[in-house]
Symmetry: C2
Subunit: 332 residues, 2 copies
DNA sequence: CAATCTCTTGACAACGTTGTCAGATTGAAA
DNA sequence: TTTCAATCTGACAACGTTGTCAAGAGATTG
């Protein structure tokens, strides 16, 4: 690899002058600058970031640690958002998938610290409380799609309550008053928040909350099928169903078809997550609340870069991002 | 950050001795070694990889450039496989998503070269011919899920022919003799290869290839619906359908249900890609040929690390990886 | 007991950059 | 011509490591 000194020799100047040209120092005569730039081109010189960052102390690298980027079919968008934002600042991303193994987590953080990353994003593949290794306190960290109970680390998560409220509101605005909610039975932030939003929306429209319309499943298609069947076989069945996620909606579709009902004519359906691969492929296509994965990744990197004080400390704020409604055919 | 010299001072030895301990040099007395290790722990010392790699010339980093990791719901497994393999060798991965923008591609490669990555993986989100930037010739490169027409770069792709053959064979072995094939109409390696495999399997079983049983769609659920309907409304309808991908299979399910037929009793169905989110959620669950994304990522990194000669050159071989059958309910 | 060998340790240079400072050149003002 | 400032350039140290070499301390050999 060509070095700065070789470029200097080729251009007939000192290596310090080449360094000046590279760093845009104005105190270089146009002649010299041109000569140097020619030599840089001629030798296909590329600065050595290892040397540069040793000297400056800045690695221009951000670490991304996650339990499962790959498994979740959308979580990759977190990486995409993070990388895109890092890109704007000429930084690159280390990505490590730990599969929730604490050993791998520890090692990953250690390796990143050795490479002197400027900060770490710690993400999970669904919104939950996390217990990241203590080692993270050594370096600016932003939690993505998760949080720690004592709120000691900054964190960005979807606004579940608002998402639930807006999904329900969308159905209410179409005139529906009996709205079923196929919720997840696990007490995760998503199920708790969306239920709260569901209740708020009903209240806003003066509709009395009927606990019987909320059926608990386990988040997959077959439980969506069971829950929907349960709900729709009642005499005063709802005219719309809000599903905890698109997989449950997929199961609900089967149940609705099974009963000979039509979407959205007889039953409107709205999902959550906006998994393109399901929502856009179902027949009719499924309206869904989109999880802001891209935006969370983007926000996290931006916060890391922009909001660290001189010592690299970050305010431990909790940031919520809305889940926009992606309207398709299933809501009419 | 603590440096080697500070550790040396703390332990009362020369910094060179600390370096020896770090690198496992046997010529250190047990006493000294223990003293040094205590100091390392006490000061929470972490070697500076930038300095180390400047000295040794090895960055211990591999670059991963892809058009779309995040969009495809499974392509993330390429990263996972690559990272896992890199991990075994104590290396980290830079990941950049270029969204097929040549400008970003160029810049990404430039940034990676500046960081002196030891090699680059260039991946695409579906199996196709690629035209990577010429700059890649400066560094060992492995193509993942794609290839260049002149085969000048090593490449790892799914064995489409074998996949098509084994999918068809699975149906033949269940006794099916009239097997429909909902193929993709685009002349991509996947559609061409799987068709060839389909034909080979039929030939192996002495079944005459009937062109009428191959219907061309466009790879999504709605075209799967149309194609399946077309095929199943004929009087001599097939008893099994091999679908180009799981999305088309999803549409085929709708068509089959629409006609009042049952899976797998009346019609067996087999998909391709093994998108968990579809295949495992459909009712009944869908048998599918799994794309070896994880294995491709793994193979690529392994090849990069193990097979470079002393100058870093790689033999431009083309490696094919099989697509295993994941058997579920839809094939009975 | 001298000579040799082995084990352990440290001094110093080097990797490729950037920061600090001083020197050289130029042009203008006195 | 002299002086001074402004502009440009280069010498050198430093960043935190590893590689090379040599030196000191014991142990072993003849």
């Amino acid at each position: 690899m060509t070095t700065l000194k070789q470029v200097a020799e080729h251009a007939g100047v000192s290596f310090k002058t080449v360094s000046r040209v590279l760093n845009g120092d104005p105190n270089v005569s146009p002649d010299t600058r041109a000569k140097v730039q020619d030599s840089i081109k001629a030798l296909d010189y590329r600065p050595n970031m290892a040397a540069r960052s040793m000297r400056t102390g800045k690695s221009q690298i951000i670490g991304f640690i996650t339990d499962e980027v790959a498994t979740g079919p959308f979580a990759g968008n977190i990486i995409k958002g993070a990388q895109h934002e890092a890109w704007q600042h000429e930084k690159l991303l280390f990505v490590v998938n730990t599969e929730s193994d604490p050993k791998i987590e520890q090692k990953a953080i250690a390796m990143m610290l050795e490479r002197r990353v400027e900060g770490i994003l710690y993400g999970t593949w669904y919104h939950r409380e996390a217990t990241p290794p203590a080692m993270l306190s050594e370096i600016p960290t932003v939690l993505v799609d998760c949080f720690v109970s004592d709120q000691s680390l900054p964190s960005v998560v979807p606004d579940e309550v608002r998402g639930g409220r807006e999904a329900t509101t969308a159905l209410l605005e179409k005139g529906h008053r009996r709205i079923g909610f196929l919720n997840d039975g696990n007490p995760v932030p998503a199920s708790k928040g969306r239920l709260m939003g569901y209740q708020q929306a009903l209240a806003n429209f003066g509709v009395v909350y009927d606990e019987a319309l909320v059926v608990l499943g386990s988040g997959n298609a077959s439980s969506g099928y069971d829950c929907a069947l349960n709900l729709l076989q009642r005499e005063d069945r709802p005219t719309a169903i809000f599903c905890f996620n698109d997989r449950m909606a997929m199961g609900a579709y089967d149940a609705i078809r099974k009963l000979g009902l039509r979407i959205p004519k007889d039953i409107a359906v709205i999902g959550f997550d906006n998994l393109e691969i399901i929502a856009a492929q179902l027949h009719p296509t499924l309206s869904s609340m989109q999880l802001p994965h891209y935006e969370m990744g983007q926000w996290a990197v931006r916060y890391l870069i922009d909001c660290a004080d001189e010592t690299g400390n970050l305010q431990p704020i909790q940031h919520y991002i809305e889940c926009p409604l992606i309207e398709r055919q299933s809501t009419g």
